[in-house]
C-alpha cells in the first residue's frame, strides 16, 4: 500500500511538470492551429535561466527559489514573444505546414545555439529551494515534489482564471474560435497572439526550473524527451483544450511511473504509448476534445 502511494506521488510530480509544458502546446494550437515544436526548447532555456539566476540569488530559500523561477518565467515569456514576432508572424496566413517546419527549425536552432553557449556537458542544477524530506508512515515526500505539485496547481488555476475571467482571456478564446470574426469586432490579433506565446512560454520556463529541481542535471538537449511526452499528453487530452492537457499529462506521468515501478520497466515507453494509442482509438479527439468538422 505504501509502495502504491509512493508511486502515486512520484507519478503526480512527473505528470505535473508534463502538464506545465503541455499547456503551452495546447494554447498555441488552440489559437493558431499549429504545433510550436520550439516549445520544448523554451523549456530548456527556462532551466538554464533558473540555473544562472540560482547562482546569483541566495540558495535554499523559498524567496530565492521563487525569484529564480520568476526570472525563468519572465525570460521565457520574452523569448516566446521574440520567436513569434521574428519567425512565426511573417509566415502567418501562409500554409500551416510552412510554420510547422519553421518551428522545427527554431527548435534545432535553440538546441544547437544552447550547445554553443552553455556547452553540451550536463551541469548540476543547484538546490534553489530548501531541500527537505518529509516522512509520513514510510511515505517519503521530498520538498521538491511538494513544490512541483503546488506550483503547477497554482499556475494552472491562474491560467484558468486568465483565460476565462479576464478581457485578454476572452479575446484569446475569440481568436481561437474565429480569427477573422475577432478582427472584425476590433480585437488586436497581434497582441493576443503575442500574449498567448508569452503565457505558454512562461509556463514552460516554470516547468524547466521545476524539472531541473527534481532531476538536477541539465543540458541543452534536455527538452527533447519531456517536450515530446508533453506534446503527446496534449494530444491525449484533446489538443486545444486546457483542462485536457493537464489531465492527459497527469495520466501519462502516472502510467509511466507505474510501468517503471513494475518488472516491465524495460518497456516503459512502449507500454505507456500503447495505452495512449488505445485511448485515442476510442476517443479520437482526445479525452476532453470535441470532435469538430475539419475547417478547410
Amino acid at each position: 500500500m505504501s509502495e502504491f502511494l509512493q508511486q502515486l506521488i512520484n507519478g503526480l510530480s512527473l505528470g505535473a511538470i508534463y502538464a506545465l509544458i503541455a499547456l503551452g502546446y495546447t494554447m498555441v494550437y488552440g489559437v493558431l492551429r499549429f504545433i510550436n515544436f520550439a516549445h520544448s526548447d523554451v523549456f530548456m532555456v527556462g532551466a538554464f535561466i533558473g540555473y544562472y539566476a540560482g547562482e546569483h540569488l541566495p540558495r535554499g530559500t523559498v524567496l530565492g527559489g521563487m525569484a529564480s523561477m520568476g526570472a525563468a518565467m519572465l525570460g521565457c515569456a520574452v523569448l516566446g514573444v521574440v520567436i513569434e514576432r521574428l519567425v512565426y508572424r511573417p509566415l502567418r496566413g501562409g500554409p500551416t505546414l510552412n510554420v510547422l517546419i519553421t518551428a522545427i527549425g527554431v527548435s534545432l536552432f535553440l538546441e544547437y545555439a544552447g550547445q554553443l553557449i552553455f556547452g553540451a556537458t550536463p551541469r548540476a542544477f543547484p538546490d534553489i529551494f530548501p531541500s527537505r524530506v518529509i516522512e509520513i508512515r514510510g511515505l517519503i515526500i521530498s520538498m521538491n515534489q511538494v513544490i512541483v505539485i503546488a506550483v503547477s496547481t497554482v499556475l494552472m488555476f491562474a491560467l484558468e482564471f486568465i483565460v476565462h475571467r479576464t478581457k485578454i482571456g476572452t479575446a484569446m478564446r475569440a481568436v481561437a474560435l474565429n480569427p477573422k470574426a475577432a478582427l472584425l469586432v476590433g480585437i488586436n490579433i497581434d497582441i493576443v497572439i503575442s500574449f498567448t506565446f508569452a503565457l505558454g512560454s512562461a509556463l514552460a520556463g516554470a516547468g524547466g526550473v521545476l524539472y531541473a529541481l527534481n532531476y538536477p542535471s541539465i543540458d541543452p538537449l534536455m527538452g527533447v524527451v519531456p517536450g515530446l511526452k508533453a506534446f503527446v499528453a496534449a494530444v491525449l487530452g484533446g489538443i486545444g483544450n486546457i483542462q485536457g492537457a493537464a489531465l492527459g499529462a497527469l495520466l501519462l506521468g502516472l502510467v509511466e511511473t507505474f510501468v517503471d515501478g513494475s518488472r516491465w520497466s524495460t518497456y516503459k515507453d512502449a507500454i505507456a504509448f500503447a495505452i495512449l494509442i488505445a485511448i485515442l482509438l476510442f476517443r479520437p479527439a482526445g479525452l476532453l476534445g470535441r470532435v469538430s468538422a475539419e475547417k478547410v
Partner: protein, 373 residues
C-alpha cells in the same frame, strides 16, 4: 607571376607530402562533449600527454606522432562517422578509442574492414574485441569486473540480497549486469529486483520505489556516472540507506559534482589508483597534474595514456606502420610496463590486469582494495 601561381599547388602538395612523411598520424575518437564528456575528456588528456611524452623522447622510428582527435559527442552514430573520416581522409595508422563500449562497437567493424588497428582505452564489454583481429584494448573486461564486484558485495559489504539497476540501452551496462549476476548468484547471493532504465532518463524514482519495497542489502547500478549520480541522489531522497556501488564508468569527477553529498560512501570499480605508491604511477600523476592542474588523473586518463604507449611500443617493434605488421606487433605485446599495470595482450586481444575498488570519501575517490585476476 602566372608561372609562380601555377607552381603553387605543386609546392603545396610537396609540402604536404613532406609533412605526411614526417609524422605518424594517430587517430583518436573520444566523447569530448555531451553526456559522457567527463570520461572522454580524461581519456583524451591522458592520450595527448602520452603523445607529447613520446615525441619529447624523440618520437618513434625517428618520426613524431601526430594525434588527430574526433569528438563523438556521446551520441550514437557519431563514432562511425568519426572513424570513417579518420581512416579515409586523415589516413591514420591506428585508431585509439572509444571509452564507451556502445560507441567502440560502432567503430570496431569499420576499423576491422579497413584493416586499421584499433585500441580502446576503456571499453570493457567483451563484444568489442570479438569484432575481429584488428581490435584491441588496454583494460580488463566485464567478465572479470563483474565477478570482482560480486565478490566485493558478498565479502566486504556482506550483502546477500541486492538489486541490479541497469540501463537496457547501453552494451556496457547490460553486459556488466549479466556477469555480476552470474557470479553473485553462484556465490550464494540473491538478486531481489532487476529494474531497467534507458540512457538519458532522469526520473528513477519509480524503479527505486520498487527496489525499496523489495528490501535489499545493497544496490548495484552498472551504468554511466551521469545516470549513476541521479540514481543515488534519488535513492537517498526516497530514504534508501543501503550501500550503492557501480562499475568503472562511475569514475568521473562529475559523479560527485552531480550527486553531491548523496554520493558519500558509494563504491565503484576502477582500473588503477592514483594513490598507488609505485614510482611509475606517481611520476604519471605528477606530470598530469603539472600539465592540467586540478585533481589527480582518473583511470580513463591513465588508460588513454597507456593506449598510446602500447601503440608506440608496437610500432617500434614492428619497425613499420604497415597495418598487418603493426597488428601483429600489438597482438604480441607482453609484460609491457604501463601506468595501469603490466599489460599482456591475450589471445582474445584483451589486457588482463588488476581491478581496484574505490569509495567516495569527503567528495574524493579513495582507494579501498586491489583485486588480482
Amino acid at each position: 607571376m602566372t608561372r609562380l601561381l601555377r607552381l603553387l599547388p605543386l609546392l603545396a602538395a610537396t609540402a604536404l607530402a613532406a609533412r605526411a612523411q614526417e609524422t605518424i598520424r594517430v587517430g583518436e575518437i573520444a566523447c569530448l562533449t555531451g553526456k559522457e564528456a567527463s570520461l572522454g575528456t580524461s581519456s583524451h588528456q591522458g592520450t595527448q600527454l602520452a603523445i607529447d611524452d613520446v615525441n619529447a623522447a624523440g618520437g618513434v622510428l625517428g618520426r613524431k606522432l601526430e594525434l588527430i582527435s574526433e569528438d563523438t559527442q556521446s551520441k550514437p552514430g557519431e563514432a562511425s562517422t568519426a572513424v570513417r573520416k579518420l581512416i579515409a581522409r586523415e589516413h591514420v595508422v591506428a585508431v585509439l578509442g572509444e571509452v564507451a563500449s556502445s560507441r567502440s562497437l560502432e567503430a570496431a567493424p569499420i576499423c576491422q574492414n579497413s584493416k586499421i588497428p584499433m585500441i580502446s582505452p576503456g571499453s570493457t564489454s567483451p563484444k568489442v574485441t570479438e569484432t575481429g583481429n584488428y581490435i584491441f584494448r588496454v583494460c580488463y573486461i566485464d567478465p572479470f569486473q563483474g565477478p570482482v564486484l560480486a565478490k566485493f558485495a558478498l565479502t566486504h559489504l556482506k550483502a546477500h540480497r541486492v538489486a541490479i539497476f541497469s540501463s537496457s540501452t547501453s552494451a556496457y551496462s547490460v553486459g556488466l549486469a549479466k556477469y555480476f549476476k552470474l557470479a553473485f548468484v553462484e556465490g550464494g547471493g540473491e538478486v531481489a529486483a532487476e529494474p531497467k532504465y534507458a540512457e538519458g532518463d532522469k526520473d528513477f524514482k519509480a524503479q527505486l520505489t520498487a527496489i525499496r519495497a523489495a528490501g535489499v542489502d545493497a544496490i548495484f547500478s552498472p551504468g554511466y556516472y551521469n545516470e549513476g549520480a541521479l540514481i543515488v541522489k534519488q535513492a537517498r531522497e526516497l530514504g534508501i540507506k543501503v550501500p550503492v556501488f557501480g562499475g568503472d564508468s562511475w569514475e568521473a569527477e562529475d559523479l560527485i559534482t552531480l550527486g553531491g553529498d548523496a554520493m558519500e560512501g558509494a563504491y565503484l570499480c576502477s582500473h588503477y589508483s592514483p594513490e598507488d605508491p609505485s614510482p611509475r604511477v606517481q611520476a604519471f600523476v605528477a606530470e598530469y597534474q603539472k600539465r592540467y592542474g586540478g585533481d589527480k588523473p582518473d583511470s580513463n586518463a591513465s588508460l588513454g595514456y597507456d593506449s598510446v604507449l602500447v601503440l608506440a611500443d608496437s610500432i617500434r617493434r614492428a619497425g613499420t606502420t604497415e597495418h598487418a605488421a603493426l597488428r601483429d606487433a600489438i597482438a604480441s605485446t607482453k609484460n609491457f610496463d604501463a601506468v595501469t599495470g603490466r599489460i599482456t595482450i591475450d589471445a582474445n586481444r584483451n589486457a588482463s590486469k588488476n581491478a581496484v575498488i574505490i569509495q567516495v570519501h569527503n567528495g574524493h575517490f579513495q582507494f579501498v582494495e586491489s583485486v588480482a585476476p
